[in-house]
Structures are given as C-alpha cells and as structure tokens.
C-alpha cells in the first residue's frame, strides 16, 4: 500500500478517460471549484453544482425564498454555474426564478431542469421556463426515464431548433441502470444523471465507464443520500487522511470522493444553508483523492 497520497489534476482529458483514475496532484487549494468539459461541446463547467430537491421547495414563504436566494448568491459568488431542478420538486422552480430575478439574472447560470409526467411535454417545459424566467434551458433531462420514448425525441427536436443546448436523462438510487445503459448506447445524449457516492458505487461498474467511452457528461445526484450519509458520519471524527486533500469536513470529503472520479462532470449537492453551499463549492477546488484514498474513504464511511 502506498504511503503517500496523490490527488488528481482536473483536466478535460480526465473527464473523458475511461476506467482508471488519473494520477497527479498539482492543483493548489482554492475556494473555487475546478471545471471539466462537457464532452459533446468542450464547454467548461464547474464540477460542483446546486441541487434543489427538498431544500428549495419552500412554497410562498417570503423568508424562506430569500434564504434560498442567499444560497444562490453564495453559489454564484463561489464560482458555481449549474442549478438543477424538476417539475416534481414542488415549488423549487418558482423559487429558483425568484432568486434569479433577485440576483439580477447571473450570466454564469447553467440552467438544468427536467421534463416529467405531463402528457403535454412542450407545455410543461414552457411552464418550467416561465418559472425560471430564462429565455431557454441549457439542459433538459427526461426525469427518471418517465415516458422517455416520447420525451427524448421532443428534446432532441428542441436542441436541433436551437431552443435547447443539451439533452439528458436521469435516474436515482440505482434504479433502471440496465435501461439507462441501453439509452446511453443508443441515443446521442449530452448528459446522464444518476446517484453515485461513497457507499452507492454501483455506477462504477458500467455507467461511469460507458459515459466516458461515449463522451456523455455525468451529473451525480444525491451525493449525501439526502443527508443520510452526513448523519451517518456525524458522530465520527474526521479521519486524519482528510487533510491530505484539504477536506475540512465530512461533507467535503464525501464530495471529493465523487469528484475524483474522472468520468464525473458535476455533482449537485442540495442545501438550504449559505455556509454549506460555500463548503460544497470549496470541495471542488484543491486536491482530490487518488484511488487508494478513495477506497479508504469508502471503507471508512461503510464502517460507520
């Protein structure tokens, strides 16, 4: 077992490299997250985004909407770009729209949303766009593969017409990986979104290598398993090896585990706290763990 830990330089090559993780640890610690390219276009995207599942579903509560806007402000200030939501997330979409308007519509925004159960996909997409108040989405994904045979052609059509920049599909918690894999092989996807973290590593077997091979950007959802991983490690001291990659909290260590996989393009932790969003973005800067350290992180979390 090596006695020293190496971390990884976040490069465009790394994002598309199949299988093995790249060695090298050259990045100096920085508050801003590194960027990786979207394989289908080469556009650079910061590797930490912002999810909105549960945390942004605050209804019409003005106080909580302002809190979400503050989280968005801190997100953009810290170098973030991708915000991801869904029509399934209650009031999250109008709350995002409120925040964007309050912040003067930040140019850095990479708007990612989904099309869900509606029989009338275009109407749902238009409603979603109006909530956000954006001229068009950067990325639209078929939520949990619902009606994907009908929805994917619609999204590809929108992309061809210049009404959308990227097309993707999503799943979570290991569901329907066989179908995801088939669609990844058969369809010209720009993005795929699924769950991957220190204890849920199923994606390492097929989906992550396939994404690298096919040049599909990967969005990782539920990096903390909806807070369950944070609660799991809450009473355990941060291991000494966290310092080797500059992680100052369990949340950062868990995120760095995900971000160190070269096929991952962006992870989208959700939070309702400004300090947490800053902490998450900072995890995308500086050193990332090598294969050996990743194995130790995973083993440590699984043992708790």
């Amino acid at each position: 077992m090596p006695t020293t830990r190496r971390a990884f330089l976040q490069t465009s090559v790394a994002a598309t490299a199949a299988g093995a993780l790249l060695p090298t640890a050259l990045r100096a610690a920085t508050a801003e997250p590194a960027s990786r390219p979207i394989p289908s276009s080469g556009e650079q995207l910061p590797i930490v985004g912002l999810g909105t599942w549960i945390t942004f579903n605050v209804g019409e509560d003005p106080q909580r909407k302002d809190e979400c806007a503050a989280v968005m402000a801190a997100f953009f200030e810290s170098g973030g770009r991708m915000i991801d939501s869904s029509p399934m997330y209650g009031s999250a979409q109008p709350v995002i729209g409120y925040g964007l308007q309050k912040l003067g519509r930040p140019k850095a925004l990479f708007a990612a949303d989904k099309v869900w159960t509606s029989g009338d996909g275009p109407a749902q997409i238009e409603e979603t766009r109006a909530y956000w108040g954006v001229p068009r989405f950067d990325l639209l994904q078929v939520h949990n593969l619902v009606d994907w045979e009908a929805k994917l052609p619609l999204l590809f059509e929108m992309k061809a017409a210049g009404k959308l920049r990227y097309v993707g599909i999503t799943t979570s918690e290991g569901r329907r990986h066989d179908l995801i894999e088939r669609i990844m092989r058969d369809q010209p996807l720009d993005f795929v979104q699924f769950t991957y973290n220190a204890v849920d590593r199923e994606a390492e077997a097929r989906l992550l290598p396939l994404a690298a091979e096919r040049g599909i950007a990967v969005i990782v959802n539920r990096p903390f398993e909806q807070g369950a991983l944070i609660r799991r490690v809450a009473n355990a001291p941060l291991p000494g090896f966290a310092a080797e990659v500059g992680a100052t909290s369990w949340a950062q260590l868990l995120l760095k585990f995900i971000l160190a996989h070269p096929a991952v393009t962006v992870a989208i932790p959700a939070t309702s706290r400004v300090d947490h969003v800053r902490e998450n973005l900072a995890a995308g800067g500086g050193l990332l763990p090598d294969a050996d350290l990743r194995a130790r992180i995973s083993a440590q979390v699984r043992s708790l």
Partner: protein
C-alpha cells in the same frame, strides 16, 4: 417496467420538516386572531353534540362543513399544495366531505348514540382535537407558533370530525368516514416519513375510531329485543 417497488415513502417526501411546520406558523399568522374563534367553534360543536337534538346536530355539522371548506382552501389548496403537488387532489376531497356533512345532516339527519363508552370516546376525541392538539407543538419541542388549531389546520379539524361522527347514529353516516380516515393515514405517513414523533396522533385517531366502531357493533345486537 417502472420498478415501482424500488420506491420508498421517503422518495415521495418533497419537503423538509422545517418547511412543513413553517406552514402552520404562517397559517396561524395569516389568519390571527381567527384561530381563537375557530377554537371556540370547536367548543361549540362539542356543546351542540352534547345537547343532542336534531337541529343542534345539524348546526354542529354545518360548523364542521364550514371549517372543512376553510381548511381546504386556505391551507391545503393555497399553502400545502404549493410544496406537495399531490395535495391539489386532496383539497377537493375536503370540499366533498363538507358537502356530504351538510347534505346528510339536512336530508337524513343524525341522532346521538345512547350513553356508554362509544359516545364518551367521541367526546374525548373532540376535546383532544380542540384543546390537546395545539399543545403538542411545545410537547414535541417545536415553537408554539407552529401549533395546529382546530378549524385552521387539517389534523385537529379531521380528528374533531371523527369524534363528532362517533357520537352519532344515522342512515348515511358511514359515507362521512372514508375521507377523514384516509387523511389521518396520509398525515400519519407523512409525519412518520419525516421522522416526526407526532405521527402517533393521526394513527391513534384511526385506531380509536376503529375500536369505537367495533364496540358499537358488538353492543348493538345485545340491545336488540329477543
């Protein structure tokens, strides 16, 4: 293949406990001092039920219909449906329950159960819903401002209605049970999924109603003349 069996209740919980309880705080603030009046209405329903005449019972049913409609619009439709899209389908069920209460009270009428354990269980549920439920917030470590008030929030309104129904006899009375019981199960599951200890409350209400229904059924044949 949708792999529906791979979904758990947690997958359908769209909001945080913080957001959930904040709804009650906002609801109480928005309609203050109406909660004081609706609490008094809860007491009036109990009084009218205790009086027991047909017109008194109709009046009690009318008050309950009024608060069901109020909760349906101001809480479920305007507030809760904003964070949980499924509630948009529940709000009309509350309006339907209000209409059924009015219709059955006016057309079929009610009588009060003969004295015994069953009606006392009804009074107990009514008293708990109006006086006990608002006290649960501080007892469960929440701020008093998040208290659920009869006529303002769904759980105490529904539980009080179940208490009222237990007190009664009537031809179409059974039609009034499904919606409150389904609501209690939904509310209990929501609270349980949130990890909130207060899930015991709506589940217990359903258990009490079931026990009262069994007790009433057992008692009835013994009172039938041979």
């Amino acid at each position: 293949m949708s792999e529906w069996w791979s979904y758990s209740a947690e997958d359908f919980l769209l909001f945080s406990p913080r957001t959930y309880w904040r709804m009650f705080e906002l609801q109480n603030e928005a309609y203050w001092p109406l909660p004081v009046l609706t609490l008094a209405l809860g007491g009036i329903v109990t009084f009218l039920a205790a009086r027991g005449g047909a017109n008194f019972l109709r009046s009690a049913a009318a008050i309950l219909a009024l608060v069901w409609s109020f909760v349906a619009y101001t809480f479920l439709w305007t507030r809760y449906a904003g964070i949980n899209w499924a509630i948009a389908y529940v709000a009309p069920a509350f309006v339907l329950e209000a209409l059924l209460l009015l219709l059955i009270a006016v057309r079929a009428g009610f009588t009060v159960q003969p004295r015994g354990v069953v009606p006392w269980t009804g009074y107990l549920l009514l008293a708990f819903a109006t006086v006990g439920v608002p006290l649960l917030a501080p007892l469960h470590g929440r701020d008093r401002s998040t208290s659920e008030i009869f006529g303002i929030a769904p759980d105490p309104t529904v539980i009080a209605t179940l208490g009222f129904l237990i007190l009664l006899r009537g031809r179409f009375l059974w039609l009034l049970y499904p919606i409150p019981i389904l609501w209690c199960l939904l509310s209990g599951m929501t609270l349980h999924t949130m990890g909130d200890a207060q899930a015991w409350m709506p589940f217990t209400a359903v258990a009490v109603v079931a026990a009262a229904a069994i007790a009433a059924a057992v008692r009835r044949p013994s009172r039938t003349p041979a």
